[in-house]
Symmetry: C2
Subunit: 260 residues, 2 copies
């Protein structure tokens, strides 16, 4: 999945919440994304319960609608459980929450998850999804992320951004995932990480992307993938999706050839 | 072991290299350290081979000479092997080499080691040693550490030291181990980390400590444990050991009550 994503930079990605979006709508959307040549579909939610059953069923239905669309998981880990995952998914965006005040969400959940996988390896009928290791950074006040994962918003001073990019490089992560639940990822911060990440590292930008115009800004600021979710949470999502894609085709093409 | 070490701050510690110091000398030294109320003995070396056999035999002999002296391991991990360890030891100072250019030595070896332990848990007749997780920082040029573990010397600018203490806090490590193979740990850097570490975090300082005077400097700079090795690598080690202890008793006592 990592190599696949590296060779599919300069693309929009859509996030579906399997605990919120009815499966019939999800399969319609997956088909539409496939037709529009989206390189993958992300399933994500801050909340989850009955994870394996729900996700296995959900993914099975999506596969039937759109066989070849790779599926990525993006969920927060939970203390005592580790990262929830199912073998039916192709990849998993693993968040290293560098701004969390709880080391479990910074990195220890990863050790926990790997230990659990090592113990249960023989019980897996499918290979676990490939982990794409990303520094997950949130921008703007976000009481929800604070209460679930102890995350403070990123302080965007030059010194602190320097510390974060040192950490991404030193830990050897696969890239960064910039997110804002209620505010927006500053374009200049996106550009900052583009300049600091290595040529093999991936940059995802998301949060409140509801228009082609906003997506264009993030591609122009160096994002490899611009992610949107809520923009399609309406009955009339097809024209919204089509206008998103149409409205930033040029920027996507340019982003595929961004110098890194 | 972590709680034990926390309640035994303000002490000298001696390092024995089990691949260099003959076992007869090691048992004599262990007995002497016990008599002088050293809180533990560290076994360490940059090189190792035939680890388990050598260490199990070595530790067995030391235990016979000095039953109650806790034994800590301090070795570098190796790609493809993880961290070498034996259940006969009580603790293991796990180095997170934050200045390594190879993420394996920064943190991935820890995941590797934990995965291996999870897979082999049932085969362990003794509990694995308790891991004490320490940021391991080296000072001064050190071609040996560079070639074995990709480690660059710590840049002692305020900004970079700030980055390192951010990392120690963010990762939730148990403390820091400052080391210099050929130069010396700057006293002011030791003091810097003392001020930045939390009250529960431990500060070890080592490298070229050959006199009570040097040990006093490091205790005064806030080290919880001052570690010496080569000073006793001579036939006449008893008076050297005794003068080390005698020469910094006052500083050790003060270090036990250092504000943190």
């Amino acid at each position: 999945m990592l190599d696949y994503l590296r060779s599919h930079r300069g693309n929009l990605l859509h996030v579906l919440d399997p605990f919120k979006v009815p499966i019939e709508q999800a399969t319609d959307k997956a088909r539409a994304l496939s037709d529009l040549e989206f390189p993958a579909l992300i399933l994500a939610s801050t909340d989850w319960e009955n994870f394996e059953d729900t996700l296995n069923r959900y993914i099975e239905r999506i596969r039937r609608a759109s066989e070849s669309l790779p599926i990525l998981l993006h969920f927060p880990p939970r203390v005592g459980v580790g990262m929830p995952l199912v073998g039916a998914a192709d990849g998993l965006l693993y968040p290293f929450l560098l701004e969390s005040d709880d080391p479990y969400f910074v990195w220890r959940s990863y050790v926990d998850t790997k230990e659990r996988l090592a113990q249960t390896a023989s019980a897996w009928s499918l290979k676990p999804p490939e982990f794409i290791e990303l520094a997950a950074l949130t921008f703007g006040d976000d009481a929800r992320s604070k209460s679930v994962m102890g995350i403070d918003p990123v302080e965007t001073t030059a010194q602190h951004l320097g510390t974060l990019s040192w950490a991404i490089k030193t830990l050897g992560l696969d890239g960064a995932y910039l997110y804002s639940r209620y505010a927006k990822v500053p374009n200049e911060t996106c550009a900052y990480f583009r300049n600091r990440l290595g040529p093999d590292q991936l940059l995802f930008a998301s949060g409140g992307v509801r228009s082609a115009e906003r997506a264009r800004e993030l591609f122009t600021a160096g994002a490899d993938f611009v992610i949107f979710s809520g923009a399609l949470e309406c009955d009339n999502w097809r024209p919204v999706l089509e206008s998103m894609v149409r409205g930033c085709r040029g920027e996507m093409q340019r982003a595929q050839h961004n110098p890194r």
